[in-house]
Subunit: 215 residues, 2 copies
Amino acid sequence: MGSRRTPGRPPLPRADIIAKALEIVDGQGADALSMRTLARELGSSTATLYRHFENRTELVAEVVDHLFRHAVSGVGELSGMDWRQAYRQVATAAYHAMKNHRGALPLLLERVPSGPNAMLLRERCLAVLLENGFPPHFAARTYASLARYVLGFAIQTGGTGAGADTGALKAALSQTHPATAAVGDALPISLDEEFAFGLDLLIAGLAHRLDERDA
Amino acid sequence: MGSRRTPGRPPLPRADIIAKALEIVDGQGADALSMRTLARELGSSTATLYRHFENRTELVAEVVDHLFRHAVSGVGELSGMDWRQAYRQVATAAYHAMKNHRGALPLLLERVPSGPNAMLLRERCLAVLLENGFPPHFAARTYASLARYVLGFAIQTGGTGAGADTGALKAALSQTHPATAAVGDALPISLDEEFAFGLDLLIAGLAHRLDERDA
DNA sequence: ACCTGAACACCGTTCAAGT
DNA sequence: ACCTGAACACCGTTCAAGT
């Protein structure tokens, strides 16, 4: 396995490349993923990578779509399900897929995810909304809201979380930012709980809109 | 004004540096902002920039906080306002500040925004929520949901928007992704409208939760 | 005291040259 | 046919040297 590759058909399948890329990103963070380090880690050369991918952006897009593959396989069969359950399941599957690859999250920003698995996740979610009687334009907005909410949430999962409030800092804060200080006593809130909170708001809001429509 | 700078106290105020940085980002995009180009544009040198900022990250953080300054000045006096109006005003002010500097949005991902203006915006919003009787832990989650929603939305504002669906592509889509195709007929949706839609959901969800609490 | 060119150690990408 | 070292044009960051 450690042997030098020989001329001939490429013994470097795309899948191996992106698996290694994800491995690097998970282990060392998004910044560590350069074409050079990836090539070295594979025992190959950068020029070889460019025989498989048009450019770094294309490679990154495929790594990102790997996250969505995890999300897709995290949602079960949605068909026939109540929209509330289905919506929640799609959201939490996407959220957890991203949580499990925090290091890869900065990659989400380089391009709008539009790989096959991202599209499949959307398709599954839209299908169940339509099944539940959502009018198409309403379903489209409903999915967009969810996608943006999950993304906004996931994005800052990777960050350091703004750090420790020492007692001294808190004292200063209560002078300049009293409301923040008052609320800060209730912190820290677990990320999972914050996520669930907003998701419940979206669902409650949707239910309310649907009730209005039926009345 | 175009004259070479001379030795002596720094004729390069921080404010000028970040104003020029924002100008570059607005005009040429986030990728165009390198320490070299910024220094050249200012008629200075990279080493001089490092006398004002610890590193590029710190400079970027200050550019980002400039966006939040716009957002803060976009919200009027919130005190004494109904929470629904206040919440909506904070959200739309932040959204518009980001829309007006699309090129700068990728910078938002480099660090969790925690500059003085970002903190001020949060303080103002939390204050009005507390005023309206939100319990602290509830107010904290309410603000977090909004911040994440706006961020997730703003982030993808800069992107190309996934591009034009030609007739041929749509035909293929209706085979493989029927729900997406069905919904796609209702597209494109204006970004502003998508944003308002989800915001209304969050507000309706909050109202519902408060009603439950009072009952 | 403040500024600067030049250097260091990296990037993404390409291409002539190897086998 | 497929792979590769070396090059090109960039980065962020630092430092000895200028005035």
